[in-house]
């Protein structure tokens, strides 16, 4: 596990350590089984082409789950992912790297909880942003743990 992140340590404007994923067609089948999404555009090339796509595509929600992993890796065990919004703008293809990135946009205290807001995105191998996201996380406050 990564080191615990505390609210005090977060700097607005800083970058989240990127996460690079290499989805394969095998992974798309595993995802299809895990969530029950059997849309053939994710495993049947002929079908995908008949629906106007150039080939099978990575499930947008799988890329969303990659962004979820980017965040849970970053916030550590005591951090809580409170909100995750993703909008699927472009296609990711199996066999091509998906790079998940993010940056801190805001930090604030509300009702005694310590929140951090981040912009997230996933890039394909052409550095096009294929998924855009926003996450709101709750982080522990170091002072609570140093007592």
């Amino acid at each position: 596990m990564t080191e615990q992140l505390y609210y005090e340590d977060v700097v607005v404007g800083s970058e989240i350590t990127p996460l690079v994923k290499q989805p394969t067609t095998r992974q798309l089948v595993m995802w299809a089984g895990a969530v029950g999404d059997y849309n053939p555009i994710h495993y049947d090339k002929d079908f995908a082409q008949s629906r106007g796509l150039s080939g099978v595509i990575v499930h947008g929600q799988l890329v969303g789950a990659f962004l979820g992993q980017l965040i849970t890796d970053w916030i550590g065990e005591l951090g809580v992912l409170r909100k995750l919004s993703c909008s699927y703008k472009g296609m990711n293809y199996p066999g091509e790297a998906v790079t998940c990135r993010g940056g801190v946009t805001k930090k604030y205290v509300q009702d005694g909880q310590h929140y951090v807001e981040c912009n997230l995105w996933a890039e394909n191998s052409k550095e096009e942003k294929t998924v855009l996201g926003v996450a709101i996380v709750m982080l522990p406050w170091r002072a609570d743990y140093d007592k």
Binding site: M1, L62, A65, S87
Partner: protein, 152 residues
């Protein structure tokens, strides 16, 4: 595609109507399968010993695991009411209130909260908003989800 044959009109009468809830008992294997599919090695999702010693006291599901609960049947219901060839998800908004744990019994409630229709290059297209909420066996809200979906 002939007017009305896509079944979009049948869906319109369902807008705002809650579907019969889907009930799902969470097993460790489901969480493990999900984490492996994402390729997420976080021991909180898979390592019993690590998770038991952690702040959570046992295995929890990653926040995005909510996508594995009930959506499959809901989308199948939508497909069976229409003649959509494909249903594509355009966006997802997830709110998490507490972690899902092994042994939880999750009740997922789904509805179409909005539907707009447009003529596209593949025929009549439906732009839908799916809203879902998830409660555990203690009737505590664990998550809410909104999905922007295109059927055509």
């Amino acid at each position: 595609m002939a007017e009305g044959s896509s079944g979009i009109d049948r869906l319109k009468s369902k807008v705002g109507v809650e579907w019969e809830p889907k009930v799902c008992q969470i097993e460790r294997e489901m969480i493990r399968r999900f984490a492996r599919a994402v390729g997420d090695p976080n021991p909180l999702w898979q390592d019993e010993e690590y998770a038991t010693a952690s702040h959570y006291g046992g295995i929890i599901a990653p926040p995005t695991f909510i996508l594995a609960i009930g959506l499959e049947q809901f989308v199948e219901d939508i497909m069976s009411l229409t003649s959509f060839g494909t249903v594509l998800i355009g966006g997802t908004e997830l709110e998490c209130y507490q972690p899902i744990r092994v042994g939880d019994v999750i009740t997922a409630s789904f509805k179409i909260s909005n539907l707009r229709e447009r003529e596209g290059k593949m025929g009549r297209m439906a732009f839908m908003t799916f809203d879902s909420s998830y409660k555990n066996q203690r009737q505590e809200l664990v998550a809410k989800c909104r999905q922007m979906v295109i059927g055509y």
